[in-house]
Amino acid sequence: MSKDVLVNVDDISVKYGQHLALSHIHFDINQGDFITLVGVNGSGKTTLAKSLLGLKRIASGRITWVNGQKVGYLPQHTGLENRHFPATVAEVVATGLIKDKGRHTWFNKDDRKRVKKMLKLFGMQDMAKKRIGNLSGGQQQRVLLARSMVMTPDLLILDEPTSALDQTSRDKFLKVLKKLNTEQNLTIILITHDVASIEGYANRVLYLDKHLLFDGSFKKFFETQPFSPFIHTHQPRYVKEGETS
């Protein structure tokens, strides 16, 4: 009861045409949660993220946000469609400030400082003036991460953020996230295929397969979903960990 609810997801279903991608999903996101959202390919993880962000219309149910939340989002496919798009790294990161500064402001010195600081956090300070299309996939992903973080979000939704990062960058990145989560109470939803790598960082697992099949701790997750959740050798059933267990 002491936890503050940030978002209430109430029995939502989402469709693509006739195809049902999410069915009757129900959960709360609490302030300070570090959630990892797992499931097989096509299980609806990205769809759920987009629904939360209002990028995908929900067919039924209701999503209720506590007022005035700033949400950062790293999409799954960060690869640029157009490598020749004229945008410098600094310009891209600065678009993350629009949410904060309003749609009509021009950025000032302070803003440029914030951008620089963020690039430094991701080890990209030397690339500020480079064209984003000239960066590698992993570097581009880090730039887009910086764009999501520069707004100092209340909630960060990351769709497979570590898929293009090398081992060192990934560990560093997860540590940064954990630090923001514990020290600044940043709420995080991290979508991943690699449950093992995220154990020790996240504190709550949501397991999705069109339906929400599990919602609880890592410990309980590995106990109740003994087979790899990515191989359908068992009949999954919904488990919600009790408040006291």
Binding site: G54, R103, R131, R147
Partner: protein, 276 residues
Amino acid sequence: MSTLELLLRAFEYGFMWRALIVGVAVAISSATIGSFLVLKKYAMIGHGLSHVAFAAVAIGIVLNQSPLFFSLPIVTFASVIVLRINQNARIHGDAAIGLMAATAMALGTTLVSTSGGFNIDLYSYLFGSILTIREIDVIFATVFSVIVIGFVLYNFNTLFSLTFDESFAKISGVNANRMNTWLAIFTGITVVIGIRAIGTLLISALIIFPAIIALQFSRGFKGTLILAVIISTLTVIGGLLLSFILDYPSGSTIVLLNSGIFFLIYIVRSALRLQT
């Protein structure tokens, strides 16, 4: 008379001044709007609209109405519709534009043939003729280009965010639909005010070329936009003066100047790349 004398002579004529003012106004609007269209991969919209403008002008001439005022609402409306179609994933946007362009062209030529065929009047609308520019065109073009500049400056970061990544812009609170509609409306108006100086069939080139040329040089977005405006303005002024000296159609001269610059850059760059 030497070329220089001829050039100086140009500035003695009222129509030349009117052409230069309208030309610069069109250059600025088309380069700015064009940069967004090219980067959003909507460049073909300009091409489709120029054909619609041709049909609208033909209808205007047949009905004995002012072709420009007649085509303004038609082209702007078509622009908004085409944008919608492009965003609707179920129809192929490029195919839709191709269909629209061909239909408009067929309609236009049919109308023209029933009313006595191509004449000087229509020819000037097709490829631009600076002699036809009136004061009202000057006022309209100037006011409009100021509005476009104001719009872009007021919404600069939003427009950039939207062009780079529409989803992210949306979650930043940008109303993508509304901004895209404004862009479509401005595209339509740009095409129409470009008719006098550049011509219906060539205006799309002035929407595409400056952005494409600027892209060769600038790494950033702001730089690209500024460079596109400079290139566009210089080629329009240069093209208008050349067309006066050589007595060529103004639109054709301006577009050829742009093509020339583009291919020159392309060749130089390829040569440099071969050397290293």
